[in-house]
Symmetry: C2
Subunit: 411 residues, 2 copies
């Protein structure tokens, strides 16, 4: 595959594989997140559309998240061609196709295959690929490398330090990100691997994270999953069919700045290590108090069931419980769309599992996350967690069919 | 949970949860690997039986493999109680139950819960838990700690060094192992986490490995999966319904030594890092030559389809191709049962994915693996792989209902 081997195809947009289903996803408020075939066993999601897929899409079972840095001495054309190539290949892979028509086995025998092949025979598995731009892409110590510094969203900067941060640079930041979600981890891994390969010479993988089990839900029909503390998580998440909440809290509006971000969002990633062996020695009543919900049902300690609104007027819910501090009612109505996953990265030398939550949230403005995270500074749960990774990216709107993610930034 | 809190229950065997399905799995040659409910979406496998589950069981989608070392100053009673407690909890978890009747939320509020809770609401997901004994359990630099040195199987010793080994002690060896396989990674992780917790004070997690996507099949109805080189793997594996091959190559026979291993097997684990970025630059024809099969169909280069026997008489299949060197016909009929998984552990500082194959094989005698691995010393594939982890464990027969894995060793 030549360095820009896919470019011609990408801008043309007339390739057979891409033509399938084009034009769908461009109508309606929350058009993405719609399975085109086999809603159950093998959903297929549009890549093109008003918004990028992978935000309101029903949360898939597996995550491979990747952060990239642009290579030294790359220019604006390199960046544009990379985004075009990524969009082209992403549009194909999300439809269950190989990265190109010749793929793993149909190209010339005397050349390396375009596609690495480990997803041959596997369905789309609900794959979504969501592409974002980090603060350093707009301007870093090398200056305005791509001529876009003036177009940087005002809020797109590295997150401020929070109490208790213990960030590993090898799990933080990055010029670009790709969130790959699928119901089969081999499909998500295949996508990140092939997009890394396509980036050769232009961008390089900085860090990546696998996740499973999800810790959020984005549709009312998904059961609320449990995090590695054993508690239900995401009960009060913004759901994909709540158009008003999405408009208020998730999507960048037409009168927000900058205009090229209209229909986009901002993604915050936080790798949160959980001290699970310590947590597991906490008595049940104390665990409930720390969270502010009961472990079994997930009901607020003020009473009711999982979906009963917490009543913060009485004393049942501790003043520094997680549910109280994180609740919109206690934060001037601030809400975010959460989409995180559990992770286990083996174990440390003491025999403790290196495990936790890979937190992902989408919001209309990074200030929403910052306000909530500051509010959590007295969270009683902090004794059992460490934030070890952090990143923020602008997530442009979805690409129009035949175009590419971020085209408006370069227009 | 007291240090031996589960012991009384385990030896009694009369707990309601355990009573379910007891006695099944003890008849017939390959009784294990049988789903009791919902073969498709939610299989449930017996823990008790003639053989341990997780060997001929249809390969599940996810793996969490854990290696443990016994703690200093533990004695024979500690080891026996640990195996009893593990067997008790494993028998429950494989049936979709919590580790104990009080579990995550039904115990006293003023005590830490018995179960960590993150699998609450999840089905059994085909969970199998397979327990093994490493060479060091029988005798190590501290001597015969558990009074079992005289009962060590002659072949159970650390594998010899192989050409190209680059072993990381943090991914190798261990006194005990548990192979957790399930169709939901959260279920497999929950099992290893809770078994580690139960081991507190007696054994400590040494290393663990997550895997996905499997690279083998053990039933004819499973499609042959692909490894991260993009090739089908496991085409010629021993299948669960091939009783003759299992008897010849996998299960320790009654006239093998030692007698306590009858009905057991030997497990070899090899963590094999794949240099996938290098592999991905190899031309398709060369990839095919190295493997000896074509990438698309998995057919041997001598012709036919995936399941056609390779013909090694002609020159189509390279003398040092993987398929030729590994084939039973080229190895005096030696066969093994493979049960490996793909892994991705993030990436290294160069931006290359830290990925490969977590190879697992079961055999009647460790000499089978050693012979095959030595034969692979000239494998052309070696240029693209590195063996970075290694372990060997004796896998006792399955436990009788109410008993525990390894009881015969201490009889």
């Amino acid at each position: 595959m030549s360095r820009r081997g896919l470019l011609g195809l990408a801008v043309g947009g007339g390739v057979a594989g891409l033509a399938v289903g084009m034009g769908a996803g461009l109508t309606g408020g929350v058009a993405l997140g719609r399975a085109r075939a086999g809603e159950g066993a093998n959903p297929v999601y549009e890549f093109f559309g008003e918004h990028q897929a992978g935000i309101t899409t029903p949360v898939q079972d597996h995550l491979h998240f990747a952060s990239f840095d642009m290579m030294p001495r790359t220019d604006r054309d390199d960046l544009i061609s990379l985004l075009q190539d990524w969009s082209y290949a992403a549009a194909r892979m999300t439809q269950g196709l190989e990265v190109s028509a010749s793929g793993a086995v149909n190209g010339p025998a005397e050349a390396p295959p375009d596609d690495t092949g480990e997803a041959l025979g596997l369905p789309a598995a609900g794959l979504t690929l969501t592409i974002g731009f980090g603060p350093g892409l707009f301007e870093n110590e090398d200056g305005d490398r791509y001529g876009i510094a003036s177009r940087r969203p005002a809020g797109l900067e590295r997150l401020p330090a929070f109490l208790g941060d213990d960030l590993d640079p090898q799990a933080s930041h990055g010029d670009l990100c790709i969130q790959a979600c699928a119901d089969d981890p081999q499909v998500a891994v295949h996508a990140i691997r092939n997009l890394s390969r396509i980036a050769f010479g232009r961008a390089r993988l900085r860090w990546s994270q696998l996740g499973f089990g999800k810790t959020s839900r984005t549709t009312a029909t998904q059961a609320t999953p449990r995090n590695l503390f054993g508690f239900k998580d995401g009960t009060a998440n913004i759901l994909a069919d709540d158009a008003a909440a999405l408009a208020d809290h998730v999507w960048v509006a037409a009168d927000d700045e900058p205009a090229w971000m209209t229909g986009g969002s901002y993604l915050v990633a936080r790798k949160i290590a959980m001290l699970i062996e310590t947590w597991d020695r906490v008595r049940l009543s104390e665990q409930d108090t720390i969270i502010g919900r009961d472990k079994g049902e997930g009901a607020p300690l003020s009473g009711g069931d999982e979906f009963t609104a917490p009543d913060f007027h009485g004393s049942e819910i501790d003043a520094n419980s997680h549910v109280r501090l994180a609740h919109p009612e206690q934060n001037g109505g601030v809400r975010i769309l959460r989409r995180g996953y559990n992770y286990v990265d083996g174990n440390n030398a003491l025999g403790r599992l290196d495990a936790g939550l890979f937190f992902l949230s989408y919001q209309r403005d990074p200030a929403q996350f910052i306000a909530l995270q500051r509010r959590l500074s007295t969270d009683r749960m902090n004794e059992y967690i460490r934030h070890v990774g952090s990143g923020i990216w602008a997530i442009p709107a979805g690409a129009a069919p035949g175009s590419y993610v971020g085209a408006e930034l370069f227009a």
